[in-house]
């Protein structure tokens, strides 16, 4: 008992620190929704007149809706493809021993720590060199590349906790491989798949740099927002739009993180950087 009371002051300091850390993390971001209700053109603080006008009128901007639609399309393609590829990679990594396993894994995860600007300009050069047009297709290809490491890591941590004897039992009982996958494997790793879809969709939806170099004449939503931020009169609309994006991301991510980590032991809870 004596030992615990000795630690208590230290623990108390850490708790206070942790609370301040969370405030530091979240408060700056909360100014975005706060300013979105300001009636002033010039982001003046303190806010004196309040309005909801931008939330109503911004939907009349056709360019905004087009960019939103473009981002949703790219996000769906990128998340579905990277998750399917991630499932295949996770399956190979967790079931088989093969030569160059660590090298292959390192290669697949490399884009996670690679400077995005280098990937962006490299892709731009390559696309132009082979004579392709810059479009949402090239953006999607770039997004699949940066999403793949994330879906791989998320899915490997799910597949690792999966008991293979269940699959073997199913095969022994006469089910074929597809049936076994559908009835045993998928329900168990399904939450990992859903988490991977949601998180990679968010990554793609928010991604700026690669889209900046590769989108050509079809801007995705972050590129559209970036362009609008240069005109003072459009900034208030971007604040409202940004607030909605933040809110939707917050809900999606909380849900995805919750299903991803649920049922994993606390030691394995991280997974992302192991």
């Amino acid at each position: 008992m004596k030992a615990t009371s000795k630690f208590l002051t230290g623990e108390r300091v850490l708790i206070v620190y942790a609370i301040f850390f969370l405030l530091f993390l979240y408060i700056p971001v909360l100014f975005l929704p706060l300013f979105s209700f300001s009636g002033s053109q010039y982001m003046t603080f303190p806010i004196t007149d309040w309005t909801l006008e931008r939330y109503v009128t911004m939907w009349k901007k056709t360019k905004l809706l087009e960019a939103l639609y473009a981002s949703i399309k790219v996000g769906i393609f990128a998340s579905v493809v990277s998750t399917i590829l991630g499932i295949l990679v996770a399956r190979a990594m967790t079931r088989y021993l093969f030569p160059l396993k660590r090298t292959v894994m390192g290669f697949i995860l490399l884009p996670m720590v690679f400077p995005e600007i280098i990937m962006g300009v490299g892709l731009l050069i390559f696309v132009i060199f082979v004579g392709m047009q810059l479009s949402l297709i090239t953006v999607t290809a770039g997004h699949i590349l940066i999403c793949l490491p994330f879906s791989t890591v998320i899915l490997i941590s799910r597949f690792e906790g999966f008991d293979r004897s269940l699959e073997e039992a199913s095969l022994d009982l006469g089910e074929n491989t597809w049936q076994t996958f559908r009835r045993i494997t998928f329900p168990i790793v399904g939450s990992g798949i859903l988490a991977s879809l949601l998180l990679t969709f968010t990554i793609s939806f928010d991604e700026f740099l690669i889209a900046f170099f590769l989108s050509g004449d079809d801007p995705t939503l972050p590129i559209y927002i970036y362009g609008q931020l240069r005109h003072v009169k459009n900034i208030p609309y971007m604040l409202s739009l940004g607030s909605i994006i933040l809110l939707v991301s917050f809900v999606t991510i909380s849900f995805a993180e919750w299903i991803r980590r649920r049922g994993m032991s606390s030691k394995k809870v991280y997974g992302l950087f192991e």
């Binding site: 030992a3 850490l14 708790i15 620190y17 942790a18 850390f21 993390l25 979240y26 700056p28 975005l32 300013f35 982001m43 603080f45 303190p46 590829l85 295949l88 990679v89 190979a92 079931r95 088989y96 093969f98 396993k101 292959v104 290669f107 697949i108 400077p115 995005e116 600007i117 280098i118 990937m119 300009v121 490299g122 892709l123 731009l124 050069i125 390559f126 060199f129 290809a141 590349l145 793949l148 791989t152 968010t202 990554i203 928010d206 700026f208 927002i225 970036y226 971007m238 940004g242 933040l246 991301s249 909380s254 993180e257 980590r261 606390s266 809870v269 991280y270 992302l272 950087f273 192991e274």
Partner: protein, 293 residues
């Protein structure tokens, strides 16, 4: 006999594994390896308006090496990102320690709360700082309301310091995760044994916890240092002309200046310097840690 079957089986495993991996590897080759290869190739080519001359030359590298303003820009980028890395890791360590050692009941909740910013829009998180540091922004507004200043402070925004603060905020959550993982892995019985043998709390931390969590600190440093050196949005939005970094120059070369070969060689040089710095950092810090042990 068993040997042959085993060999066959393992070859079978290899084939199965690589057929599962092949779509991803093809993607990586076409969307990652080839583009980087062409980036390197371009850095040895030259461009005259739209016409690209594919004769190999070191001309672009000579330009970068001889231009003092480019050196200054690369140096500034490295200073800003090293400082950001140092501060974020220092800030994140106690936080990771708290979640790993102090939090008992709601670990999952804490981890999720600390991870959410990781996934949300980088552009918007950076823009939020413009609202805070701006001429009529939160800090100036609050200070003048309190009667502490008469005129808004104009030095808050558009300088290297604004870039540093914004980057430190945007990346501090990223540093927690790897440090947390390495702390969580530490065998608690080691600490108990040291306590039983009479080691003080500080000694236990310095001789056991810190060296064992060091791989996490290294990973966190790399996760922050590499992308912040190449960051483009933050200097563009809050850096002003004094706060621009090398990525902004690279972007100009691929945009307005339309000199892709020069932009490519800048990108290659930056990447090489970053890689070398990371290697030096890893070697030196490993050596220091081995001295503690």
């Amino acid at each position: 006999m068993a040997h042959i079957i085993e060999n066959l089986l393992s070859r079978n495993d290899t084939t199965k594994a690589y057929s599962l991996l092949s779509p991803s590897l093809l993607l990586l080759i076409f969307v990652f390896a080839f583009p980087i290869f062409f980036l390197v190739a371009y850095s040895f080519w030259t461009q005259d308006y739209v016409y690209v001359d594919t004769t190999l030359t070191l001309e672009n590298y000579k330009i970068v090496v001889n231009k003092a303003s480019y050196h200054a820009l690369i140096k500034r980028s490295l200073i800003i990102s090293s400082l950001t890395t140092l501060v974020t890791v220092l800030l994140a360590y106690p936080m990771a320690y708290f979640v790993a050692f102090v939090v008992k009941d709601h670990k999952l909740l804490w981890l999720i709360a600390l991870t959410i910013p990781f996934w949300t829009s980088y552009l918007l998180r950076v823009f939020a700082w413009k609202l805070i540091l701006g001429y009529n922004g939160v800090i100036n507004g609050s200070l003048s309301n309190l009667g502490l200043i008469d005129n808004p402070l104009s030095f808050l925004l558009y300088n290297p310091f604004a870039v540093f603060v914004t980057l430190a905020h945007a990346w501090s959550a990223f540093a927690i995760l790897p440090i947390y993982v390495s702390l969580e892995k530490i065998d608690r019985s080691l600490l108990e044994a040291a306590a039983d043998l009479g080691d003080s709390a500080f000694r236990r931390f310095w001789r056991i916890t810190f060296p064992l969590s060091f791989p996490g600190v290294l990973a966190a440093s790399m996760i922050i240092f590499i992308p912040t050196t190449g960051d483009f949005i933050t200097p563009r939005l809050v850096g002003g002309s004094e706060g621009i970094m090398v990525a902004n120059l690279i972007q100009v070369m691929f945009g307005k200046a339309n000199n892709w070969p020069l932009g490519s060689s800048l990108a290659i040089i930056t990447m090489t310097i970053v890689t070398l710095s990371v290697i030096c950092f890893v070697v030196i810090s490993r050596w220091l840690i081995s001295r503690i042990k």
